[in-house]
């Protein structure tokens, strides 16, 4: 947190550029006429903070649900209901992955690691929603299940 606190009158004076530079570089503090402390920061940083807050809350909620013996219902999962194709072991693995991704995103000040992790889990959930795909993806490898196929029609 910066020690410099600008005054609202600075926005119309010579310190306006200095204020904007401080905001661009991370955060600028300003004392309003009524004493309210305001900050300006890059929108990307605000979005990151909002995303991290949202997902830390989701992490805490899922962590609490998994501490019970019962599997969480779709209703209890709420915004995380897309996780319902997963069994308990997978949900615990998701929770661990989410924790690691949140720590990485916080350290990097970049949500890329979090986005990549969530994307991979969402894709997996969608693949498991279909009973046939689920049975093959979660089943054992049986050599006789794999067959020779002819060349697809409609080619060159």
């Amino acid at each position: 947190m910066t020690d410099t606190i600008f005054q609202s009158s600075d926005l119309a004076g010579g310190k306006r550029t200095e204020f904007l530079d401080a905001a661009r570089s991370g955060l600028a503090r300003l004392r309003d006429k009524d004493g309210t402390s305001l900050v300006m920061l890059p929108e990307s940083r605000l979005r990151l903070l909002q995303t991290l807050a949202t997902w830390w809350e989701a992490y805490s909620r899922l962590d609490a649900l998994l501490r019970r013996s019962l599997a969480p219902t779709a209703n209890e999962l709420g915004e995380l209901a897309w996780l319902r194709p997963f069994d308990r072991a997978d949900l615990e693995e998701f929770l661990s992955d989410l924790h690691d991704a949140l720590v990485a995103a916080s350290a990097d000040e970049d949500e890329a690691a979090l986005a990549d992790t969530l994307r991979a889990w969402r894709i997996t959930a969608r693949q498991l929603e279909d009973p046939l795909r689920r049975s093959v993806l979660l089943g054992q490898h049986v050599p006789s299940d794999y067959v020779e196929v002819d060349e697809p029609s409609g080619g060159e």
Binding site: F86, D87, A89, D90, E93, F94, D97, R119, A120, W121, I123, T124, R126, Q127, L128, D130, L132, R133, R134, V136, L137, L138, Q140, H141, P143, S144, D145, Y146, V147, E148, V149, D150, E151, P152, S153, G154, G155, E156
Partner: protein, 129 residues
């Protein structure tokens, strides 16, 4: 198109659109429940994407594709199906076409047979996410 026989380790699945320019490094197998889907590959995604996919799995499975997005599935769905198998790769062949596969560099179809590299296509679906 129907499956004609169980997997023969010496008869790989054929490349969509004709013969490859170089011999494939990996034999390409398809799970019997998705043979029909594989038969629709060209009509569903186009010959260009079908060739691109074939070249990917036949020569560099598991490597980043220059065009398509690949993701390793998470949880149990992403785990190798046995010793020698890779994790499950999810290949987005088009906006609505997705293929899951694993590969094995030293696959033996039967005990005592020679090890050879194979790609096993586990699932194919054409519904957009």
């Amino acid at each position: 198109m129907a499956a004609s026989s169980a997997y023969d380790p010496f008869r790989p699945a054929k490349r969509p659109g004709g013969k490859p320019e170089t011999a494939p490094g990996y034999r390409v197998l398809v799970h019997r429940r998705f043979v029909g889907h594989y038969g629709e590959l060209v009509s569903r995604v186009g010959i260009q994407q079908a060739k691109q996919f074939w070249d990917h799995v036949a020569h560099a499975p598991g490597q980043p594709d220059p065009i398509a997005s690949t993701t390793i599935l998470k949880g149990r769905a992403g785990r190798p199906k046995g010793p020698g198998w890779s994790r499950t790769f999810h290949y987005e062949i088009s906006a609505s076409g997705r293929i899951d596969y694993q590969y094995n560099d030293t696959y033996k179809a039967t005990e005592g047979s020679d090890p050879h590299p194979v790609v096993a296509i586990l699932t194919i679906n054409y519904s957009s996410h």
